[in-house]
Structures are given as structure tokens and as C-alpha cells.
Symmetry: C2
Subunit: 318 residues, 2 copies
Amino acid sequence: MPGEFSLIDQYFKNVGTTGQLSRLGIGDDAAVLDVPAGQQLVMSVDTLVAGVHFPETTSAADIAHKALAVNLSDLAAMGATPAWFLLSITLPEVDQAWLSEFSDGLKKIAGQYEIELIGGDTCRGPLSITVQVNGLVDKDKYVTRSGAKPGDLIVVSGEPGNAALGLAFLQKKISLPKEIEDLAVKAINRPIPRLCLSVFLQEYANAAIDLSDGLVGDLKHILDKSGVGAVIRQADLPVNNWIKQNNAYQYALSGGDDYELCLTIPEKHRDQIETWNQANPDCLLHEIGEITKSGYYLTTTDGSIDLTRQTGFQHFGD
Amino acid sequence: MPGEFSLIDQYFKNVGTTGQLSRLGIGDDAAVLDVPAGQQLVMSVDTLVAGVHFPETTSAADIAHKALAVNLSDLAAMGATPAWFLLSITLPEVDQAWLSEFSDGLKKIAGQYEIELIGGDTCRGPLSITVQVNGLVDKDKYVTRSGAKPGDLIVVSGEPGNAALGLAFLQKKISLPKEIEDLAVKAINRPIPRLCLSVFLQEYANAAIDLSDGLVGDLKHILDKSGVGAVIRQADLPVNNWIKQNNAYQYALSGGDDYELCLTIPEKHRDQIETWNQANPDCLLHEIGEITKSGYYLTTTDGSIDLTRQTGFQHFGD
């Protein structure tokens, strides 16, 4: 696109910390990196498309935050630490004000999570943002979806459902009391990647996934990969008061975009959850069920629901 | 998008060789990789947007080839060897026939250049393909844009201009004799990443870049990064007969999408060019000019043109 190189110079240099690991960053055909001995590289890529992954009205700063946050969340789910990222941004036009706000938002979250932008691509087309994120993990200390064992506790961070509630509010499908509106809109626009949990995962989790598509569907990936079943107790879901009062648990069960983590933890480590919560009031963990040998059920006050038959809970996210 | 996971299982597993380096590929939150001791990681990302980087009528197999080829070309320009890649694909709808053809095309080029697909993302939206490519290079043996020195020979591979000619033909702006049409359409739809030159670059080149935006603009990046000038001799440009007969050198000078390499080589290595050409008739190198202390000129039969003033030759690609 016109002025691609000046765009990169102007808006995308010096985003994030200057890593000790990058030999050559933005401005060549490719970046060159050193991976430290004894560490493994953890890589993921996610694209956000305007009108699909965020409403067209979303601010440039919120888009920048979310594009990096959803990728950082994948690193968190693996127990990895952020290192560097690449950005490919497709723009319908060169809008200096938009780019400036996007760049500021990107610098803020990149600085917060200490990750460096090392390369990228800008081109013309319908608005979409692709981030390819790279983390590091001590050799073979990463956590996967495939390690869950019968008897493991199922644990989630934060309050699943807030993001789906925020999206429904922004789409004018529901009205909310002001304090719920605030936390719900923040959840959809400013998801928090749970990188603070990386070390906890490495120490105690048998399996983990981030909640991008909704709890029931995402946990199902752990079950499929691990060859196990699960029971979720609806009454134990850590949802906000509005969801409780309106019995609107579907937001927490099938609503996506929360980017909380779902872990499975051997029962012998139950005490570690309480210890964690006392030290980390901003990232509370909640036990919501357990891994079983087979089957997939939700227990509610009305009885038990077979989640394998609830097509409404399956993955229809974007 | 509906069935994201089944799409990945169906179309994007087992693309490329099964690398010895990937510990965990498609199917988790992220992939995990080992970078061998003594090697550095070389990373690039490029997005292709329908209607911008390829005509809407381009076949799925051609799009797959090109999306990976343009990224492999960045590795070639660094002197790196392909290792693994990630794919993020945005589709307006789930078209099984299109996906099948795309997947086949991707498998073909990934197999040819021995690179493994280790992860990715599929989502709904206007058609675009982002590839993030990863190569390896022996420690500090990579080649950059910034090493050109006065006196270096400027060398290009192949026949620059063919791709731009192919695009103009597909857009019905020109008509071409059949044999020129064939090579021009092949150049735009099936660019060849010049990975065969990686070792030659490491041994002999002071600087390199791939010709994605056009020779004059791309060489300018070498000049800017290296703090040098250049003279290009139009008569020495290795162009096809149609360009020569029609004096249509602008296709070679400012036409993009060739993905040939432009290198600068110390004069003492001139003999290596001839040695290379005798052994590699499918990837001929041609000396087209030399690096100078300053200035940027094209010498033609009509005299010398100052390229720094030719805004028409500057970067207006996509």
C-alpha cells in the first residue's frame, strides 16, 4: 500500500521492550532471533476480522489490545512466557488518526506484557489484524490439552460469561445495570491474558486451554485430546450477579471471548488453589467440576444435562 | 466459523514434511518447537488479500502456492532454510471444493520446499491468507539489506518483469504472444522462491532482497540500509524478448511480484556467478550494475536517468 515503509517506521518501530533475543528486527526481509539453550519456542497465530471478531464501532486502541491479548492468552494456556510477535495489518485506507491510536494501544499492551514487535506486513484491504505470537518455555515444561486424568479438578480463572454479556449489550440485545455493563464491556474489549498463571500451570496443571469459544466447547477439546469425560457443576460457576439472578448461565457455558483459562489439576493439589487465591485476588481460580472416565455432563438444580447432545453448546464461534 | 476444528483436521493436517523439530503441532493452543543449538530462527509474515494481491479469479491452488512462495522468498533473501509455518486463513464461506484444492496446492509446495505446517487459525470474513514462515540459519550466517559496499556487483536471478507482464495480461491491459503469455502468467501465479540460492548468498553476497515490489524500489531499500548508491544498466537487464522488442523495461524496473532475488556481490567473486550459472541453468544470475558511493542511476541508450527523482519507480505496491 502507499507508504508501507513509512507506516512501519512511523507507527510500528519500538513497540514493546527491546528484546535481548532479537538480532534483527523490523526493516529487513525477515527477523532473526536467538532461542536460548534449554528453552523451547511456543508459537500461535490468530486473526481478528472487523465485524466478525469485534464490532465495527470498536476503537483502534481496543482492537490493538484485543489482537495481542487473544494471542498472549494462547501462550498463557501453554504455560509459556511472551518473547516477541509479528503483526500483519490489513487496512481499507491510511487513516493517520486510527493508526496512531492503534499504535499507542499496541505499545501499551506490548509494554505491559514485555513482548517485542519484531516484524510485520501492512497491506490494503478489508480491516483485519493478524498477530503471530512467540513465547518461551523451559524444555518440556509446557502444558497441553491432552494431559487431563480422571479425578482431576476442573478449575477456571476469573468470571466466564462477562465477554459474551458485553457483546450482547453492545449489540443492543440486552440491557444491563451500570456496574455489570462496565465489567461486561471491559471483558469483551479488553480481555486480560492470564499470563500470571504460567508458572502455576507448569507446577500444578495436567491440562489447560483458554476460553476463546466458550467453556463447554473449549473443555470438550481437553476431553477429546485426553480421552476422558467431565462433570461441570453449574452452581459452582463463578459468574457475575446478573447471570445468577437471571439464571443466564448460557453466557458462561457457551459464550466465547473470555480468554480466561480452564485447567485440570490433580486433586492432591487442591490446597494450591486456595493458596493461589489468597496471593492473587485479581486472578481468582474456582473449582467447577471434575474430570471423569467418560461422558460429559452439566449438573443443575433441575438435574443432569448431557453436554455431548447439546449442539447449542458446540463450537460455532468465529 | 462453523466447524473450524473439522476444517483443520480435514484440510490442514499433514501439510509438508513431518519435522523432527516440532514437539507439538496443530491441535493445541500453540505449537512447541525446538531450535537446534548453533542455529538462529528467521521469521517473516505476509498477508495476501483477494483483489489486491491476486485477481479474484485466481484458483485456490495458485493462491495456496503464492501465499507460501512469497514467504519462502523472504527466507531465501536472508540465506535461510525453511523449517515450519503457520497459516491464518479468512474465508467468506466454507466451500469444500475450494478448500480441497487449496489444501492440495499447499501440500504440494510445502512438500517441495520441505516445510511443515504446525498451526493456524481459520475464520470467517473477506478472503485473505496470512502465512508466517520460519527458517533456520547457522549462527550469524544470515544475509541482510544493510551490507552492500561500493564496488559490489548488482546481480538478479531469473527474468524480472514477467510477473508484472502476467498481471497486465490477466487484467486485459495488454495482449501477448502465446509463449510470452505462458511464462508471464506462470510468473504471477506460480512464483518460484529462490531457496536454491541460500548457500550462494551465505558464501558470496554482501546484501540481498527479494523483488516483491519491483527492482528499482527494492534495490533502493538495500541502498538506504547500506548507505550507498547504485547504477543499473538497462541493457543488461535479463528480460524476455517481448519486453526488449517493445522497449517495455518498466515491467522489469517497477513491476512487482517477481520474487527473484537481487544480490550485491564483491567484485572478487564475479567468477562465482559464471560457475553458478553453468551448474544451475534453471536459476541464472545476471550482473546488471554496480554499487556506488552515492546516487541512484539507470543508464539507457538515451542517457542516464536519476532514479531518486522517478516517483513512478517508487514503492506503490501492495
